[in-house]
């Protein structure tokens, strides 16, 4: 069982990101689950979304999770959200920030000694998609860090997941995914 927790603000696309990832993973024959805590569902409110991936049918519906990966797609949440909750010794963090990994750890001592990767998904999405929608770039970074899938396979499937969007938005998302894949440290 692979478990992933997203930390996001409502409106940044964590639910879409989690469901998109589940869709892509499902095409490889694995079983998936994607869900979220919505809370009061105000745009901008801190929220969490979740993925489970397994080789067998996922029967567990508890919301509790000790994640293998924690994906933070809003830079401020590492200072205000309990993003290390129920971490494991080898939990991998991928965090959106304009800081370097070293600067980030210095600013948030909870990350010391952890497996931490950084990428600026906000900047990447602003420069490619034109809006701060950091969900798809985070998936690009996850592909690089986890080695889950080849980039060509992942992008091909994400094009299918995003097929209802206008072509230029789909193209911009593909560039954002590739940039995050290349830029994550």
């Amino acid at each position: 069982m692979l478990e992933i927790r997203w930390h996001s603000r409502a409106g940044q696309g964590a639910v879409t990101g989690a469901k998109g990832l589940a869709d892509v993973v499902s095409t490889t024959g694995k079983h998936v689950q994607a869900f979220a805590f919505y809370g009061s569902a105000k745009r901008g409110a801190a929220m969490t979304a979740y993925n489970r991936v397994d080789d067998k049918v996922i029967m567990n519906h508890e919301k509790f999770m000790a994640p293998d990966y924690v994906l933070v797609i809003d830079p401020a949440l590492v200072y205000v959200a309990d993003f290390t909750a129920f971490e494991k010794p080898d939990t991998v963090y991928i965090i959106t920030t304009h800081l370097t990994t070293e600067e980030l750890i210095a600013s948030q001592p909870k990350l010391e000694g952890k497996k931490v990767h950084t990428v600026d998904c906000i900047k990447i999405s602003q420069e490619t998609i034109g809006k701060a929608i950091p969900n798809t770039p985070m998936l690009g970074a996850l592909m690089k860090v986890s080695g889950m899938y080849e980039m060509d396979f992942f992008k091909e499937n994400m094009i299918r997941v995003l097929k209802k969007l206008p072509q230029k938005i789909i193209d911009a998302n593909m560039i954002a995914i590739q940039r995050a894949y290349d830029e994550v440290k």
Binding site: K19, V32, A34, H61, F64
Partner: protein, 406 residues
């Protein structure tokens, strides 16, 4: 003629999407709806399919859930295939009309995305609304995941519309835990899905002008009792065989097998939990882990909540020594519904299991695997002692001091 939609063999859908797709595939004629969280995407989905040419039907926007079910009643009486969806306070507002629908023997399908009932206001999943519907004369089927929410809609239409049944049916799924949780759903083709349910066969439809009928009549003490007795007779005798037949035919079509009562590791279980919704599957996973330690635990899930499968439950529980009933609804003033129903089910049997009750998960509070392990620890103590070692009713997952009654 509606367009066909090409679906992949496995789609990653949440429970709402699964239910909306089922409503499209059976080509519902009329949806009258007033949206409410977390069921909104079901009727929104139907409206989108209709607007894009994938359904030949009508979407009626109304001013309340009371009007939504009233619209469904009118459309069903006129002679159409009718469905809608609701949750929580919306369900509560529908209650009066639910009794009209069942009393008028109109086969409407209501997708209930189970949610807490306020106050305090809460949009998350528990079973308060489902429990509120249990005396309303409707068939009630319960899904544990998005696949079930999809499949049980087909079962519901097939059974409810059968001329030997002619009763409305609810398909329940857990708010957010199923409705907003995406999982792989094995799909049917549009042709196979529609073929399974078949073309709607009207009965006593108001729009058959050659055979005029009256719907919604008044009967006082002269006939009211006889009408209610006939309604109960149909619910008690016609429905279970039709559901079993529909389950068998659906298994042939899809390979997926449903049962009135779902069981897991019950063959030699000395203790069991009984629950509904997503909790059934979480408990199944816990039981597999306990079995690996040699603990003889089992799970019983209620699939058909109304009519209550009394004989089937008595059969699956006959050899257990301790039973934990898990209610995701506050019983306010007594023990939980499942405790009462199971006690009533077993009272005249030879089974003399120790029975206790857990209230959990209100307003979406998480039921963790650790909670379920704790319940089985209680049940094991009851098995070993041969009597109740805990309070009869306990609250689990509650913050603050431990709460229990009786």
């Amino acid at each position: 003629m509606a367009d066909t939609m090409e679906l992949r063999d496995i789609e990653v859908w949440d429970g709402n999407m699964a239910a909306a797709q089922a409503l499209r595939q059976v080509q519902v004629d009329v949806v009258a709806a007033y949206p409410i969280t977390p069921s909104t995407p079901i009727v929104e989905g139907y409206a989108t399919y209709k607007a894009n040419g994938y359904v030949d039907g009508e979407f009626v926007m109304v001013e309340s859930e009371h009007a939504a079910m009233s619209g469904c009643i009118g459309a069903a009486a006129a002679g159409g295939r009718v469905a809608t969806a609701t949750s929580s306070q919306g369900f509560a507002l529908m209650v009066e009309t639910l009794y009209s629908a069942s009393g008028m023997r109109l086969p409407i399908i209501l997708n209930v995305v189970n949610r807490a009932i306020g106050a305090p206001l809460n949009v998350n999943g528990d079973h308060s609304d489902m429990y509120m519907g249990r005396d309303s004369g409707w068939i009630q089927l319960d899904a544990y995941n998005p696949q079930h929410a999809y499949d049980l809609n087909f079962i519901a239409f097939k059974v409810a519309e059968d001329h030997d049944v002619r009763l409305p049916a609810m398909v329940h799924q857990d708010g957010f835990m199923t409705s907003h949780t995406a999982q792989g759903v094995h799909t049917l083709t549009d042709e196979a899905a529609y073929g399974f349910v078949g073309e709607f066969q009207p009965m006593n439809d108001m729009l058959d002008l050659d055979h005029p009928v009256t719907h919604g009549v008044q009967t006082e003490e002269d006939w009211h009792f006889e009408h209610k007795a006939r309604q109960q007779h149909a619910l008690m005798t016609a429905v279970i065989p039709k559901i079993e037949a529909a389950f068998a035919e659906f298994e042939k079509l899809s390979g997926r097998k449903y049962n009135l009562v779902e069981t897991h590791q019950m063959e030699d279980a000395e203790m069991a939990v009984i629950c509904m919704g997503t909790s059934v599957e979480t408990a199944m996973e816990v039981v597999d882990e306990l079995r690996a330690q040699g603990i003889k635990a089992g799970v019983v899930g209620i699939r058909v909540f109304r009519p209550w499968p009394l004989e089937q439950l008595a059969e699956v529980l006959k050899n257990v020594k301790a039973i934990g009933t898990l209610d995701r609804s506050s019983p306010h003033g007594t023990v939980g519904m499942l405790y009462n129903e199971i006690a009533g089910t077993l009272f005249n049997c030879d089974t003399k299991a120790v029975l206790n009750n857990y209230i959990y998960g209100l307003g979406g509070r998480d039921l963790t695997k650790a909670h379920v392990v704790g319940i089985f620890n209680d049940l094991k103590a009851n098995v070993d002692a041969g009597k109740l070692t805990t309070p009869l009713q306990q609250y689990i997952g509650l913050r603050g001091p431990k709460l229990s009654f009786f």
